[in-house]
Subunit: 476 residues, 2 copies
């Protein structure tokens, strides 16, 4: 059985869906965009996949717009010819979001990378979609402000908005759902639409902003984002603590959240992942044990008080002495190791391909959910380190398979399926932050049931010809 | 000119919109609901208005469902006969949301008032729509948890969800937008749809939950709400501080927010409102001066530290000594006085009717916005106390008019219009928390422009026959 036949969505062995007038659309766009339009195979291939395991499905053309108006013009051309549109930021998504499953035109927005406006007094800013989170934080360096959402990869703000990204700081600062104040979106007929505003709250009409956040390019192309910012805290302290078993680590997390400590980051690495991190990131002085990474933000006194409270909780569950990252350099090294865990995990199985997946459950079910998943991994003889934003009940698995071994891939996918089903049965979600994309379409139905009919109504109303990232989110 | 002809929406002097088969719908519903269906004039009148200034527009029938299934059955009957549906909670909305401008059936959900589930470990709960916020907090008393959102009135959670309510604690805990995790909604064809879930975050599909939050009964009837809860803080301290002028008070607020102090409440009363509060609520020892009410939540140390920081900021702007509400009784009296400000204001102008309105602006424009509004009030010789959730940039005005004086009403409405226009021009919103209802429909267009077309698309898709609270949010 060829590997491709087991992917969700339109397999490569099937004929592509009928599409209308691709050639004239490409010709017109090439004239319009000149050397900012490419049909080169290497360019198309590079834009046909994210960082997930999904096979490359290249678009027919890649364009690099520079303005809302250029995006609008290009969308109008695609709409006229019925050609699919896929938005592209940094290509770091994990669920096949950018795969051009029906071909069409990839809108690479990476050159729309201006920070348009920073309002220091209002703690907000407006950026173009191609600005990355690290670029934004570098830009903000002298203002005393920060943009806290940190999914690990240096993703574009547009992509983070489109996938409702979150990451390590979300337990304190929220996700893109909470941090986006407003948007500029180019819709399926090329209209340039502004949603939301700069007020911290509003009761004026339907919340279109949150409807576009997490819509994965299927309702419109997000070109500008108004973001909440936060003051850089007076004190930031990081610590690492190791536990005799996974349950003790998870229980420390649960108790911390229930106690209401406003911890900024609380991350788990299981013993497999910790082993990988020690090897890959040269973390000296640690054991291959379940481990928590903490970060505390606040005034000096408040950060210290938070740390003290968490330390007391951790002691109760048999945690080791806190290992403090006392200076900026050590702190950065620590979080870099955390962020590199996907690469560290990959290094455990050289030559193999990796599937990264995530679920999120109510925190009371977190220990049970992780332990059942670990048992499932062991029963199936798979290698699959666990890492997670456990303060939100969100954790990740990386599974490995041999590219030539469809059975191994099928076993990995079956495990992911069971993990999703268990999370949904516990009142959780099949994805806390990666999105539906190609891979979790069936689980969207399992999780949301009848509500999916209403999501489809929105899709049909906003994009009646289904040209915006077709084949994603919804099963056919 | 009769007063009614100046209201927005369908005036009482006009013929009602054509509606189909009202009589058989009423007959069927009366059979189905028995003594939980009423056509009595007093009952219908009571359900034809909220607490706003809008003339009563009674429904033709009021029903009191007890379950999702009963709501669904009744909606199906209304849908079959094309009869308008208006949801009703406690009748405390301010923008005419419950006025039955096209007649029809009022669904009074106040008897769906069960707390269905409290998950202490996960800090969440599920309630029926008719549960009020005070009822919920009384229910939670022994759990150590609280539901913080507090719009003043003891509104139903369903109504608060439908209007995206917020209030005094929103600066710290967010609004209904942030605190609703999921919903059960009965849609226009009677389907019972569940949105969201219990996970703290999810990237699974379109955010229907936030689409229904703030939809004012026009997209579906919200029957159950999954809510975030918070631990009752170890320490809660309240203080009052008075200022030589409004600008100093507002600048204290702005600096507090910009400094990042996680203040739980920061409320302004201008000198007119403070005078009213002193008289109405017997607040002894205060002057008729611009005044801030503060509340600090946290551990004892952290609450004290926050208060100290704010005190230092306040001193810089010439604030008086902090008057501390040291015990629970004094604190409750203080916040009761704050919550009673609408009634206190009304007592300033006995026999007159009141218009309550609100706007919200970026905090950097707050002083300017309030001062321009005060100047406008003075220029027009009106009496209009100001009170506000200023930590969010949100403030309210209460204006008075004589019921028999259409010119006075018109002058009040013109002032509200200018206040809305100025707020929008400053990047703010025409309503921070009251909603659009009947009164702000034109300003929805002014604020959101082209985006309103997409709101209408959602409305048409979800409610093609426009039976759900017709005449609200959108201009005809």
């Amino acid at each position: 059985m060829p590997v491709h036949s087991v992917i969700d969505g339109r397999g490569l062995d099937e004929a592509p869906a009928p599409r209308r007038d691709l050639e004239p659309a490409i010709a017109t766009l090439k004239r319009l965009f000149g050397d900012r339009a490419s049909t080169a195979e290497a360019v198309r291939d590079q834009h046909g996949h994210g960082e997930g395991w999904y096979p490359t499905q290249p678009p027919d053309l890649v364009i690099y717009p520079h303005s809302n108006e250029e995006v609008s013009d290009a969308v109008k051309i695609c709409a006229l010819h019925g050609v699919p549109i896929v938005a592209f930021g940094t290509g770091t998504s994990l669920e096949g979001h950018v795969a051009a499953v029906e071909g069409g035109v990839c809108f690479d927005l990476s050159q729309m990378n201006a920070v348009l406006d920073v309002n220091q007094e209002d703690l907000d800013c407006r950026v173009q979609a191609g600005v990355t989170r690290k670029q934004l934080n570098a830009y903000l360096r002298d203002t005393g402000l920060m943009f806290p959402i940190d999914p690990g990869a240096d993703a574009s703000i547009g992509g983070m908005t489109a996938t409702r990204a979150s990451g390590t700081n979300a337990v304190r600062y929220g996700t893109m759902r909470e941090c986006v104040l407003g948007l500029t979106v180019v819709t399926a007929d090329g209209r340039i639409v502004k949603t939301g505003g700069r007020a911290r709250k509003s009761a004026a009409g339907y919340d279109l902003t949150r409807l576009f956040v997490g819509s994965e390019g299927t309702l419109g192309l997000i070109t500008e984002i108004q973001l909440r910012l936060f003051g850089i805290p007076e004190a930031i302290t990081s610590a690492v603590c190791q536990y005799p078993d996974l349950e003790s680590a998870v229980n420390t997390v649960i108790m911390t959240i229930q106690t209401g400590v406003p911890v900024a980051r609380i991350e788990i690495l299981d013993e497999v992942q910790m082993g990988a991190a020690i090897a890959y990131s040269k973390l000296d002085g640690y054991d291959e044990k379940p481990t928590l990474f903490f970060e505390f933000h606040g005034t000096h006194a408040h950060a210290a008080e938070q740390a003290e409270t968490v330390k007391a909780i951790s002691d109760e569950f048999g945690g080791s002495a806190f290992h403090w990252a006392s200076n900026l350099e050590e702190r950065n090294a620590l979080w870099q190791a955390r962020h590199d865990s996907y690469y560290a995990a990959k290094a455990l199985a050289p030559g193999k391909k990796a599937i990264a997946t995530d679920v999120c459950v109510p925190i009371s079910r977190l220990a049970e959910s992780i332990l059942e998943t670990k048992a499932d991994i062991q029963e199936n003889g798979l290698l699959a380190p666990i890492v997670g934003h456990v303060g939100d009940g969100n954790y990740h698995l990386v599974l490995f398979y041999d590219e030539d071994n469809a059975d191994e891939l099928a076993a990995c996918k079956a495990l992911v399926d069971r993990m999703n089903s268990r999370a949904i049965a516990m009142g959780g979600t099949c994805t806390g932050e990666h999105g539906i994309g190609l891979g979790k379409k069936r689980f969207l139905e399992a999780e949301h049931g009848e509500a999916v009919a209403y999501m489809r109504m929105v899709k049909r109303a906003f994009d009646p010809d289904n040209i915006l990232n077709p084949g994603k989110i919804f099963t056919d």
